[in-house]
Amino acid sequence: MSPVVRDNTPVLRPGFRLQWEPVQNSHVLLYPEGMVKLNESAAEVLLLVDGKRPVADIINTLTDKFPNVPGLDEDVLAFIEVAHAQHWLHIR
């Protein structure tokens, strides 16, 4: 599988849904007969995955929101690669 680059545009795989669950106090990713409880940083990235924003935009938006996090761009790229490898999202 080729690495994710900044001008790729991720989109959630059909049938996958990101949702806030108050009882679990976290975002979860729901899919056929499955559910992943997301940590805060994973949720921050996936909330910006809309099939329109390229990875570079997602990184810029999060850098504006969390200006003091070192290495944020590498973390975002690494997470999107993992999510892609898990087939949670498609890359265009």
Binding site: R17, M35, H87
Partner: protein, 380 residues
């Protein structure tokens, strides 16, 4: 009665709700997970009662909802129930045989907000051949519906129940699923509860059959990974060839909640056969049922365990295995699951494995799940 397990303060919410809408079904699979005496339970919750159950379960924290049965498509209010559940925020799964499904229904469910459809194939050996040859109406129907499900944009899970009569064709089964563009394929060997337990000798594959199935599945996994094909193969092997039991349902009353057609609440879909009294949603709130009822607390925690589980250092991993299996094989639901090699009843598992090596009755000699047989087996 006393609670035997953890208290509600420690117990997390139910995350999965399985709604068995009805025991009615046009099929007669000899490995059905419905209770043997299903014909004695005629009652079905009304539309309003189901919506109330969904509302309560969602408030407790349930996020996944499976519509099951019997065959859920026989409920004429299915689209309405899907719509209500989706509106509440559930991820909605329809678990169906595909019998009775039409393109119009697929579209109506889509509009109601259904998230996913799982079609199960009940194919036996001869039937798989027929299906692959496209010569049988039922399978034409299933194939057509599988294609229609994909065309409507749903993610699709295909479920093949495997047993000694069809497991050797697993290569062709996977090939078919990949051709149908399934997103997930569950290759589920029967687990031996309910009707499958009744028919166990005629269903349990041999060790060699199972090894072959695992090998073929792994070859397909490598091939799919190389192609970047997202289709995921899930091979469920029978406990009977394990040396340690499964952590059944992630623990009794831990995350799963099943509601049967008449409103009886169960910690798993097989639990109705246990000599435990289970509460009904027609009499109690779901919150009471989940956190406070005797039935849901019966096997929570570790205090109910006898030896060898009680002092076992693996009890937090497998919770002593499956209560239903312990009861079916030993007559005592507090025993260790006999799948465990530490169980004093493990020889029953070894015996079943030895039986599997012997010639067994053909498919036509199995006991098929239908109302008449259910009544004969279980006189009220």
């Amino acid at each position: 009665m006393l609670n035997t397990g953890s208290t509600s303060a420690e117990q997390g919410p139910p995350l999965w709700l399985l709604a068995e809408l009805t025991y009615r079904c046009p099929l007669q699979c000899p490995y059905c997970s419905n209770p043997l005496e299903f014909a004695n339970h005629k009652g079905e919750l009304s539309t309003a009662q189901w919506v109330d159950v969904f509302t309560q379960a969602r408030a407790l924290g349930a996020a996944q909802l499976g519509f099951s049965g019997g065959e859920p498509l026989v409920r004429e209010d299915l689209a309405e129930l899907i719509g209500a559940a989706r509106e509440l925020g559930f991820y909605t799964n329809l678990i169906t045989s595909g019998m009775g499904l039409t393109e119009a229904k697929i579209e109506a469910f889509r509009e109601a907000g259904l998230d996913h459809i799982q079609i199960s194939f009940q194919a036996s050996d001869a039937e798989i051949n027929n299906m692959l040859a496209g010569s049988r109406k039922a399978f034409e129907q299933k194939l057509a519906m599988a294609r229609a499900v994909k065309a409507a944009g749903y993610p699709m899970v295909l479920n093949f129940v495997t047993h000694r009569h069809n497991i050797d064709q697993i290569d062709r089964i996977i090939e078919l699923c990949v051709a149908l563009e399934a997103d997930f394929v569950e290759l589920a060997t029967c687990q031996y509860y309910g009707w499958a337990h009744l028919n166990r000798a005629g269903l349990l594959p041999t060790k060699a059959q199972l090894d072959h199935a695992e090998q073929v599945t792994n070859q397909w996994r490598e091939k799919l990974a190389e192609q970047g094909n997202p289709c995921k193969l899930i091979l469920v092997t029978p406990d009977y060839y394990e040396e340690r039991p499964k952590g059944c349902m992630n623990g009794w009353g831990n995350i799963f909640l099943t509601i049967t057609p008449d409103g009886t609440a169960l910690p798993c879909h097989s639990a109705r056969q246990l000599p435990v009294s289970f509460p009904s949603v027609t009499e109690h709130s779901l919150s009471h049922i989940w956190y406070d009822s005797f039935g849901f607390n019966r096997f929570r925690g570790y205090d109910w365990m006898s030896e060898p589980c009680r002092s076992c250092d693996e009890k937090e991993k497998d919770f002593g295995g499956c209560r239903c299996q312990a009861y079916l094989l030993t007559g005592d639901a507090t025993q260790a699951d006999p799948v465990c090699s530490k169980s004093p009843h493990h020889h029953k598992i070894l015996q079943a494995r030895a039986e599997a090596e012997q010639p067994q009755p053909g498919i036509e000699e199995l006991t098929f799940r239908n109302e008449r047989t259910s009544r004969i087996i279980c006189k009220v």
